[in-house]
Symmetry: C2
């Protein structure tokens, strides 16, 4: 079991990563001072529950904890205020008190939802994450928790750091292949923004990553988490630097929205977005080879790098406008400078972005 | 205009108190760095809006702010997740961004609701309080914001300190007399827990307070806020000391619940609770004169000190059990030691509390 510390002053916390470590959740909870006198809540979803819920429950009860559980439907639609209220109801009926903890067992959806419950139940209780997707290596660092509003994603939320994260890579074995690739998109993104060697490592170990080889996954997740943790330590509340984590996300969020949240997985959408950002870099006069290199990495991880023909360029442009990164024909964009380095460009011409989106619909041209 | 500073490190903020100061809200917002480039949201209720909304809107727009408003129905029922979502909708449609502020114009209900919106809109934006009730001198210090869950009050919330509070005592002129007394209950409570002189001052100036004489009110509100601020500075997240602010609240909350939230105002319920706490002090062998002194102060402020005959003792006891302050026949209680001083007693026999509740139904016996 490896331990990575996210440094955030008095809100610092460890991420435990390993294979076959799920059973230690009870022991670790004791070690972290979670009271056995208070009831604990596990939130999970109905795809994850059949595989891992009993195991987590048992590991906790074996250490003397009493546990209530709440299982939500799998998928983004559970990140709603309605489901949030239902989880709150379970917490109240389960008599959770201020010394209780909320455990998120699942991917980013369960993490964001349960985290927002933890942030706001009785004005905040302890939060523990047990990520079961690769993508959740991203959401388990940084303390961002949220639910969606019908008008906009992640609009309602808080910053609430977990007390610890337990990442057992064995849980990833049941993950559908598309979800694996989607999660790897965020992993390679962490390389692309800050660590050239790690970006190439992801490409060169693509087969083992896609094949879920434990040692390879553990290294990749640890390095991905560490890079994000480093950024978050320097800018916990997203005042500036943290924006670089959004490489590929401006276009990516628009793609997700136009696809009605469901057609594209988050990692797929941002993969196309990262290809777009690299293309934009070339148009802005930066290294022309960035695009081909980026596309090569993404394709090695089985990720898409083009937009399907039926997606309308103007729909993407409109959806980006929603993201409020526009002002007077210019927009803010995270643009690669080289593999492993990006900058925040505040005055990218909207027309250049439109050209990029148009070209994303064409053939891959490297 | 007087300024009181609530000391909370980097979350410190000023409370401006005065008569006829509402028009300076725009100027003060500029001074506090609230951006004129971002839209601002005023949340108020339908009893307060006709009196003061236009004035606040105008004071903000005069300084160059663009403003959206959301008016909720008056009363506790607006502290719900449903109304919260509606306010969120207004915020999103109004294109509020991370540099926007949410202004709460109203009493504790609007303050708690708008504060929870501010705490969670885009993971937290600036919060400004413009209290219009006496009771809100309490809620404007301490950063507790919340909405109710159908199963329990204030169950869903956060700690979110305002950037500033503007308290114009002129707004109190339109307050119904029962609401005036209700607010004065929290004011005298601040004296009862920590400031003997202030408690007697409240009694001796009851007539001017009830008559809303500006200078008297300004002094009383300032002192009340200062006492609470002092406690909160020492225990922002309610780890220990802050509990003393709950004098009268264990019984008081039960009375509110049994009365179905509506029959008793909050201050009325805690006035009866404070009379009960003083009675309990006597039963626990403390100064026997505390009860008579306390009752005298509360009655001077037109507050009730007994329970109506139709309220069932066991209903009050059950409602307290809900409050989870029970354990094995004992409960935690804030008990007066003298006027101006209290202690947290962890092992009050439940039977003693039952006797107190029974006696609260009798005649005032001093
Ligand atoms: N808070 C953050 O910083 C942050 C960062 C990135 C993404 N997110 C959020 O995360 C969400 C996406 O995360 P995600 O991709 O993990 O989504 P997810 O939680 O929906 O999981 C993806 C799918 O895999 C299933 N699943 C999860 N674990 C499984 C397992 N071990 N075996 C089999 N099936 C499993 C889920 O039921 C779901 O159907 C989005 O809502 C996004 O906004 C948050
Ligand atoms: N956050 C905290 O620390 C804290 C502390 C104490 C109480 N509270 C909360 O505050 C709420 C009670 O506060 P409240 O007593 O101010 O209630 P309130 O906001 O409901 O106001 C009382 C009534 O007076 C009306 N009103 C308000 N200002 C007026 C004015 N100037 N003129 C005419 N009418 C006016 C309101 O419409 C309402 O009908 C409760 O929900 C309680 O939980 C919070
Ligand atoms: Zn992402
Ligand atoms: Zn109170």
């Amino acid at each position: 079991m490896r331990t990575l510390r996210v440094e955030l002053g008095e809100r610092s916390y460890p991420i435990y990563i390993g294979s076959g470590i799920m059973d230690s959740i009870g022991e670790l909870s004791r070690k972290h001072g979670i009271s056995v006198k208070s009831p604990q809540l596990i939130v999970t979803d109905d795809k994850v529950a059949p595989y891992y819920l009993a195991q987590v429950e048992q590991a906790l009860t074996a250490e003397g904890y009493s546990v209530v559980t709440h299982t939500v439907p799998s998928g983004e639609s559970s990140k709603s205020l309605q489901v949030y209220e239902e989880v709150m109801t379970t917490a109240i009926r389960g008599k959770l008190d201020r010394s209780s903890a909320v455990f998120a067992l699942g991917g980013g959806v369960v993490g964001d939802l349960a985290g927002f419950v933890a942030a706001t139940y009785m004005r905040g209780v302890t939060f523990v994450q047990i990520p079961t997707t690769i993508l959740a290596h991203d959401s388990s660092v940084g303390g961002k928790v949220a639910v969606n509003h019908p008008l906009a994603k992640n609009m309602i939320g808080a910053f609430h750091q977990p007390a610890m994260v337990l990442y057992d890579v064995d849980t990833l074995k049941s993950l559908p292949p598309r979800e694996v690739s989607s999660g790897l998109a965020e992993m390679v993104k962490h390389g692309l923004i800050l660590d050239r060697d790690f970006a190439y490592w992801c490409r060169d170990h693509a087969e083992e990553l896609l094949g879920l080889v434990p040692e390879t996954l553990i290294y990749g997740l640890e390095r991905g988490c560490a890079i994000k943790a480093d950024v978050v330590s320097k800018d916990e509340r997203e005042g500036g630097l943290r924006a670089i984590l959004n490489l590929g996300h401006t276009i990516g969020h628009a793609i997700e929205a136009v696809g009605g949240y469901g057609r594209f997985l988050h990692g797929e959408a941002i993969a196309i977005g990262m290809a777009g950002s690299a293309m934009l870099a070339g148009m802005l006069g930066r290294d022309q080879s960035l695009y081909a290199e980026t596309v090569g990495m993404l394709q090695a991880l089985n990720l898409p790098v083009t937009l399907p023909a039926d997606i309308m360029v103007e729909d993407i442009m409109d959806a980006m406008q929603h993201d409020k990164k526009f002002a007077e024909g210019r927009m803010v964009f995270i643009v690669p400078e080289a593999i492993g380095s990006v900058s925040i460009v505040k005055d990218v011409p909207v027309d250049a972005v439109r050209t990029v989106v148009e070209q994303l619909k064409g053939e891959v041209n490297t």
